[in-house]
Amino acid sequence: MYYPRELSTLNWYDASVNSTTQSGNRNRAFTTRHTLTFTPKFDNEDHFFTTMIRGELTDGNGSGSGVTTSGLPNNISSSSADGELNNMWTSLNQWRSIYFTYSAHYSYKSKYAILFTARLDGSTKFGSDNRWGFFPSISGRWNISDEPWMDWSNDWLSMLSFRPGFGQVGQQPGAQYLHFSRYGSASQYMDMPAFRPNNIRLTDLRWETKTTWNLGTDIGLFDDMITMDVNIYDQLTTDLLMQNVGIPTSTGYSALSWKNVGSMRNQGWELNINGNQVLKLGDLKAGFNVTLGNNVNQIVEMDETTLMGLNGDFNFANGSYLTRVQVANAFGSIYGFRYKGVYQYSEYSAEEVPGVSGPNAPVAHDAKGNVIVDEEGKPIPMVFDYDDINYTFKGGDAIYEDVNHDGNINELDIVYLGNCNPKVTGGFGFRLNYRRWSLNAQFNYRYGSKILNIAKMNAENMYSNNNQSFAVNWRWRTEGDVTSIPRALHYAGYNFLGSDRFVENGSFCRFNYLQISYNFTPEFMKRIGAKSAYVSLSGNNLVNWTKYSGVDPEVGYGGYGLSTDASQTPRAKYFTCSMSITF
């Protein structure tokens, strides 16, 4: 790697100017695998049985070294040239793994099938007590439609099967040597070299196990013209591995690098319907496909301190929303204030005096909606966080609903604003064939999700020196302005607290994919001497129907946090034209 002077605006003596890095790595790994398969031949061919056992062992190690020099003459990119030596390093690493699997498959006619597998995994990442993980799984299939007593339905039911399944898989942490207390060098003090323990030894770390139950049904109708499958699943993750779990810093460490913190459940269902040439009108054939699904994550059990570590308190700062990870509740609930517009006036008066005062002013109201007054009959002003910050709202400030009518906007006025999880997700599409032409259109959608539009917040908060959106032209400027955008306050005020102002419905339907293709006629191919030839034109991300005001509502969900849109680069809309000829 070489960074020439021209690529940088830094001073000539800066360490990254005319610097060159050379490094090398060498890795070696041995893998041995032994497989034994046994398939007996039965005289009665209705029975079929096969079994396999396999063991695999990997041993690898690697070493690397590198050197960075800077301040080299122009165009010299060899690190062995005389320059300032910035960095030198070497590394050594080693990895090993081992596993055994056993599987057995038995079927009787085409009606019954059963598959059993078991896996024994050994890992270098756990201490000797928890090194081995055993993960069995079993699944079966019963083709009900093949039973003789189902003959009555053979005309229209081409397939009906039931697939129950159970399985476990294991997951290990992403780091090595966790079960050792490791000593490494620290920065030297005066001329005394220093060594120190760097971690807490994780002797209690265990495999994370995902146990899945799955019930599925396959249905085929009218000679598989319409096929459907339904899956209901329940996945329980036990000994959930979490990275950097906070512990009291009075131990000398602030976090455990990994810990088994509890268990989590993921439940969901999925429905696929496929129509294969359901419509035939002369040369026109049409098919369709629909997918519906939903799944929800929730914590079943978790250590109290870990749970609290995931849940922040309201920090009285602009732009922050609350969410909570709670046992037996889905993730992704948004909590914040209710935004009620902008105070028109700073001074209160029951009747509006244009340009001076009016009823829409920051004063406290009781539960009946009457203004609360002090002993002199003056209205009590509305404040933010009376206990500490004690900011008195003025005209042009955002109105937050004072839910408990105490004249004080604080954490007690925070309410539930919705959930980031979609109610249904999925896709649908259709295919049309007309003679040699075919058309394929696919859509995907999400319904019922809420998104925090952080991009909008950043572009409308008028708080910092950042560029703002056009909308700020409608901001409150003088007493009496009626608008929904608060006044501009440079590094001051509380005009963009986490409120429903920036919580938006993230439902959308996207026209994801469209392809038109044409297969050339055999005569044409013969003429050019080709075996097959076709042309196609396809477009991706063509249209997105949504009420969401930001760029793209398709943001991630399902984690501990909230779905936020900080204006990521929108999905590219692109078209492909292709032609394929095989000779």
């Binding site: 063991g55 062992l57 041993d59 050594l92 690493n93 080693q94 990895w95 090993r96 081992i98 024994l120 050994g122 270098t124 000797s128 090194r131 081995w132 040597y177 050792f180 207390s181 490791r182 000593y183 490494g184 620290a186 920065s187 030297q188 003090y189 005066m190 005394m192 070299p193 220093a194 060594f195 120190r196 323990p197 807490i200 030894r201 994780l202 002797t203 209690d204 770390l205 906070g246 512990i247 009291p248 810093t249 009075s250 131990t251 000398g252 460490y253 602030s254 455990l256 810990k259 109290e304 301190t305 609290m308 570590g309 308190d313 920090n315 909570r324 709670q326 206990d387 500490d388 954490e411």
Partner: protein, 548 residues
Amino acid sequence: MQRTMRKQNRTKFSNWFCAFALCTTISGCSDFLGILPLNEVVLENYWTNEDDVRSVVSSCYSAMASNEFVKLSFVWGEMRSDNIVRGLGTSEEEIEILEGNLQPSHSVTRWSSFYNVINLCNTVLYYGPDVVNKDPDFNESEWLAMKSEVLTIRSLCYFYLVRTFRDIPLVLNPTVDDNGSYQHPAADQFDVLNQIVNDLLEAERYAVKRYSKETYNKGRVTQLTVQALLADVYLWLEDYDNCIAYCNKVISSKIEEAEEEQMNYDGTYPLIGNQKTNSTALTHEAYNDIFGVGNSFESIFELQFTRNQQSNDIIPGYFGTATAPNNIGAIACADFIADGATSGNDIFVKTDIRAIENFNAKSTSFFPVRKYVVESINNQDVCTYRSLNLSNWIFYRLTDIMLLQAEALTERSQQSGDTNEEDLKEAFQLVSAVYNRANISQAAKDTLQFGSYNSYPKMASLVLLERHRELMFEGKRWFDLVRKARREGNNSAMMDLAKRKYTYPESVKSKWIKPDMLYFPINEQELKVNLLLKQNPGYDTGETIKKS
């Protein structure tokens, strides 16, 4: 029939064989999977010889020399005091603290860097004794010398914590495994202070008096460090006799050392003197030596920063740099202290050269701190700024101990009911010595006269004022004020001093009037992960709010 029998036998045998093979493979595999890290040493292979112990002892110092540790020892000891106001580039959190609005969410309430050092000390104390048995070249007395260094470092950390937070977890064992609960309840402040005193008394017995290497005598724990720290702890405990005794030990050692080195000094105490060069100009030798060069004769214990290893970024960040506008850092000196200091104000008399050394009183909008930032001041009061961020950080120096002793003597003077004039006189002598070194004109009108300070309240405020002037920006002032409030049993008089820098002094005073407010809140993150801890009641606003 027979055939089937044999077949069964064979199956049985092969089953056994398989099971046996599997067992041996798996146990063999366990060894195969037990690989050791290649770039680090594991605990099982450590703690075998003297160097192992020495290296971890050294890491205790190196962890103290981290920027977070130095920052906190300054912030806890001074940020809330009347010395500091905001400078340039001050963070929002720092502004909130400087406005008297300290919150449990603030990062300066995180004590992790102190417990990090404590855990390293505990690790040495736990594994060290066994190494004496393992390494024939490592004898008991060498171990005890290291042990006393580590005990002192741990005590220093706990002393900071107990002064800042009052009741804190007292952890004396290292954290090694994940099978402990990690949850330590807060120990009562006096249990912590007792532990400190006992540890220090043990450390004093075995501590090294002098290292063969000169810089080690300032940068590592010596017997003098232990005694200085003990004096400070005894004063906090209001045990004045012991405080005076330990201050005496420190001062007389310094006098002995001065005699050995044949150092010339005026008066009773071996202080570095400033010289008058002509009627207007004078040298700043004491400042240049103590804060510019570092490791001065007067120094007792200071953290060392060396090039290419660790730098002290707190000084440029907080106090200022040569290149910053007006040399100002994130904090500045309070206006009431600096304004008019060179021509005389409530804090400094006209001749006091510390009004030049501590800050730049001639600056216009902010008064930047000079202490540590300036490497040297010449006899025309022209400052040379430090070019590298390598200023040491002083924990104890001689004048600090002298003034601690003066404080203890003043307090003792009125303990028996009648005012003990002998104690007051001795206290006055100590204060005078420190004062005179900084006021070298020494014309009668510029020196302190005992007649003006011959009562307890007058002497007590003189001692406090002298500590204020002498130890400004050294992370001492807030603790001086807290000590005063603890002694008096209420915050009123102390807050009258501390509130002076505020725009709305009365509102801050009324907020901080509860004794609990003398201490910092425990960080909210710590409370979440340690269920046995309780928030300092002064900051506990969460009682009425319950979240499910």
